[in-house]
């Protein structure tokens, strides 16, 4: 218990408690207020906040691999999408007979004139199987890919570029109708999850609440990891990989472990994301999407988990606002964020906060 409590300073725990209260208690309460109240949180914002929680989860995963281990992945969109597709497949199967064509097959298969389910769609009528796959498929893919990449000591930009190639290849694959994941349109038009109608505001709130819980749990888990000996070795690999090797550690296993964990977390985020957003399609696999994930982490501040949360919230908040208010300006803002953060804020927003509060150099201590 002492070890766990020592993950944060007192202010750190205070901030964490505030965040928890805000996400888990304040949001449902504000949502429950009568609609004419000034503090009422409209229903449409609830899934949006849920979406942000999923993004923040991705940013945490990204921070573990990039911020702490120094490996920039441009393929996290892949793991996110694979988790999302697994959940989407369950949702499609669970609405058999309720589609436009009233068929036992998903609508797009009827449309393509397929007579039976492809083999890889079997088992997805069970929620537990889909949930397992949402974690296992990204995990296994990351493990295999990482095994090859880290074993031949591909690092730096080369690793980034081949992860981007992976993303690009999978995007092309998923865009094909014949691949069996709904092609261009992806999987959409979901009806219910475990018997709960996805259109119900209560279900949406529940999903949001679960996402927030998962996010906070993963945050604590990640804190525990980065402050463990394992986490220390990761940071050491980031700062001087050769020295870590000379000290007798094998970086391969450390990198592989954190890389796989990061992918699994992304899969989890994807699986939570899909029922709230109601669609998963290959656009999630666009290389741009994966790079944007890196920017969430960069904007918040690499190498601090709080930074990842802050970055995901800031960038996506801005995005939601700009794409409504001034859509033509959004790409400029995003581009400027990329450039501005790398040029002027290498430590991200957290770094800025720390710079404004001299004397408090380290927020967290082990």
């Amino acid at each position: 218990m002492r070890g766990f409590l020592s993950l944060h300073t007192r202010t750190g725990w205070l901030a964490f408690a505030t965040l928890t209260a805000l996400l888990l208690i304040a949001v449902p309460l504000l949502n429950a207020l009568p609609a004419d109240s000034a503090l009422h949180l409209p229903d449409y914002l609830v899934p949006l906040l849920g979406k942000f929680c999923c993004y923040a989860l991705v940013a945490l995963a990204m921070d573990l691999i990039w911020g702490y281990t120094g490996i920039l992945s441009l393929g996290h969109g892949v793991f996110f999408a694979l988790g999302g597709y697994s959940m989407g497949m369950y949702l499609m199967r669970s609405m058999a007979g309720q589609g436009v064509y009233r068929s036992q097959l998903p609508d797009f298969m009827v449309f393509l004139n397929w007579k039976e389910l492809p083999w890889f769609w079997h088992g997805f009528d069970q929620f537990w199987f889909a949930a397992l796959m949402a974690l296992a498929v990204p995990g296994v893919l990351a493990f295999v890919f990482g095994w090859f990449a880290f074993r031949s000591r591909i690092k730096g930009v080369y690793f980034s570029i081949i992860t981007q190639a992976l993303t690009f290849a999978l995007m092309l694959l998923f865009f094909r109708n014949e691949t069996g994941f709904g092609g261009n349109n992806g999987l959409t038009d979901f009806k219910q999850l475990l018997g709960f109608s996805l259109a119900e505001p209560g279900v949406k709130l529940g999903l949001y609440w679960i996402s927030a819980c998962v996010l906070l749990t993963v945050y604590l888990l990640a804190q525990a990891i980065v402050h463990s000996k394992f986490g220390r070795v990761l940071t050491a690999i980031r700062d001087a990989e050769s020295r870590v090797m000379f000290c007798g550690y094998e970086p391969l296993y450390y990198k592989l472990a954190v890389w796989t964990l990061s992918a699994v977390l992304c899969g989890l985020a994807g699986a939570l994301y899909v029922p709230q957003v109601g669609i998963i399609n290959p656009s999630e696999l666009e290389p741009t999407q994966s790079i944007e994930m890196a920017v969430w982490t960069a904007v918040g501040g690499r190498g601090t988990l709080a930074g990842a949360l802050l970055g995901a919230a800031t960038v996506n908040g801005l995005k939601s606002w700009f794409t409504v208010a001034a859509p033509e300006l959004w790409l400029y803002v995003l581009g400027a964020l990329f450039v501005g953060v790398t040029l002027f804020l290498p430590q991200g927003l957290i770094g800025l906060v720390r710079r404004l509060r001299p004397g408090k150099t380290e927020e967290v201590r082990a």
């Binding site: 290389p287 033509e328 790398t342 040029l343």
Partner: protein
């Protein structure tokens, strides 16, 4: 329309070339009667008359557009009536139609065949012979043989032999059939396999063997043609990749800058071409065909200027921090895309091929080598040669190489390394702009043009190995050709995915690429 053209040709020709044999045609037409006997003998005479008007008249007769009025023979051409003997238009209604029986019709068909096959116009002969090769007609055998004996043009001879062979295959004479099989083996297209197949399965052992080897020969030839086609399209795709990646080979390979905005420099080159094209269209329509030449320097300078700005404003603060460079340049690429989108719109813009790049070389019926693709291959190697010359033979190139090899030492020798950095980057950007000119000639020009290319370009550079132009060439051509050979087997998308998978595996084995730098530079 075709007939009208022939009429016009005829009208032009009347004054000059025709009088020598015009007598016969005119005689026949003047004494033409409307009864079958008279028509039949007239058709026979016309078949022998070497006169383009005979062709027109016979076609009209076959189609029932010939009529007699007041002793004059009229031809209905669309809505107008014309006199058969001189093509002058007349007013009024068509006269009485001639009586055609089957004998006359047969006569007309064979006369038309003979006239077309012996026409002085090579294109008419070729078209007729090709038509017979496509759809062999037994009745035309004699005309075809006569035409083959008189023909001198190789292409027409080829078509005539192809037209004769299927007919001779049905002949009673075994010698003729064997000869026909050999002809088909030498010149046949894949479609004659259907004709040869029954013979190959037939009872006559000698014929069957000959037919089987003919089928093999045709299939082999087709295979080689397919491979040659793949090779050409692979080279063409390879040169596009090379053009796209060459600039990257300079900025990434030599300077180590991960420029994710490289694709947008291609896009700027393509839009510069578009602007130059529009300027030519508005102000110099006479010289429109040459706008592409003017677009080359404009595209180079536009992209180089943008590249220079990027280097000055952003990149030089990020040297030695490749991951940050990657993110920053990606941000820049977003801004560039959005800027172009605001100026030119999000839709594709149309960049026309100049007339000297439209069309192509017809190799076989199935295979055309488009001029714009051929030009791209040549252009890619010209740009490559220019870049090589700049690096090997100019002072700038010498300095760039010096800074690449040892920055500190180069600075100590008095080289302004910052300036060299900026110029190298601008050069790489300019080369990307030239690539954009080529891309504008091959496909759509849209603000997303570069995004689709950037992954490919990096693959080329990574595959080829960083720091060597030869690597970019090997990477680009290798990827292009392998891609085109994979495509027929597994489709474009799967082929590409397999290729990306292959590169990922290849980098595992040889992280330094095909052409690795040797010595101490590897450490840098």
């Amino acid at each position: 329309m075709c007939r009208l053209l022939r009429f016009l040709l005829l009208a032009c020709a009347l004054g000059s070339t025709l009088p020598a044999f015009a007598v016969s045609f005119d005689d026949t037409i003047t004494h033409l009667g409307a009864d079958p006997q008279s028509l039949r003998s007239a058709v026979g005479e016309l078949a022998a008359a070497n006169d383009p008007r005979a062709l027109i008249f016979l076609e009209a007769l076959r189609d029932g557009r010939v009529s007699f009025r007041d002793g004059e023979v009229l031809i209905k051409d669309g809505d107008t009536l014309k006199r058969a003997r001189d093509g002058v238009a007349v007013t009024g209604e068509p006269g009485s139609a001639p009586l055609l029986n089957n004998a006359v019709r047969r006569g007309i068909d064979s006369a038309l065949t003979r006239l077309q096959l012996t026409s002085p116009d090579r294109a008419v002969r070729l078209a007729a012979a090709t038509a017979f090769a496509d759809r062999p007609v037994r009745a035309a055998e004699d005309s075809l043989r006569a035409a083959l004996a008189a023909e001198i043009d190789q292409e027409v001879i080829h078509a005539l032999r192809l037209a004769l062979a299927p007919i001779e295959l049905q002949s009673e004479d075994r010698g003729k059939r064997l000869a026909a099989i050999r002809t088909l083996a030498d010149e046949g297209e894949p479609r004659v396999i259907a004709v040869l197949d029954p013979i190959a399965k037939g009872d006559d052992a000698e014929l069957a063997t000959a037919a089987r080897s003919a089928i093999d020969a045709i299939t082999d030839r087709q295979w080689f043609r397919d491979q040659a086609g793949n090779l050409f399209y692979g080279l063409s795709l390879g040169s596009v990749l090379l053009l796209a990646a060459l600039g990257l080979a300079i900025t990434f390979g030599l300077m180590g800058v991960i420029n994710m905005a490289h694709g947008e420099l291609l896009m700027i080159g393509a839009y510069a071409t578009y602007v130059v094209q529009n300027l030519f269209r508005s102000y110099l329509p006479g010289a429109f065909d040459w706008y592409l030449l003017a677009a080359l320097p404009v595209a180079f300078l536009a992209a180089a200027a943008v590249g220079w700005l990027l280097e000055r404003l952003v990149l030089r603060h990020l040297y030695g921090r490749p991951l940050e460079t990657l993110l920053a340049t990606f941000g820049l690429s977003l801004m560039l895309i959005q800027t172009v989108r605001l100026i030119f719109g999000a839709q594709n813009v149309e960049v026309a091929n100049p007339s000297w790049l439209s069309g192509g070389i017809q190799v076989t019926a199935q295979m055309v080598l488009p001029y714009n693709r051929i030009a791209t291959v040549i252009f890619a190697f010209a740009v490559l040669a220019a870049v090589w010359l700049i690096f090997q033979k100019t002072r700038l190139g010498l300095r760039v190489r010096a800074v690449t090899q040892n920055r500190g030492m180069a600075a100590a020798m008095g080289i302004d390394t910052r300036r060299i950095d900026a110029m190298t980057f601008a050069l790489g950007a300019g080369v990307a702009g030239l690539g954009g000119v080529a891309l504008s000639q091959l496909g759509n020009v849209s603000p997303d043009l570069g995004q689709a290319r950037i992954v490919d370009s990096f693959m080329v550079v990574v595959l080829g190995g960083v720091g060597k132009l030869a690597g970019a060439v090997a990477g680009g051509m290798g990827l292009g050709i392998v891609n085109k050979f994979l495509e027929p087997a597994m489709g474009a998308v799967l082929g590409k995915i397999v290729l990306l998978g292959f590169i990922i595996l290849f980098i595992q084995k040889r992280p330094q690429g095909l052409f690795a730098l040797k010595g101490r530079a590897v450490e840098g």
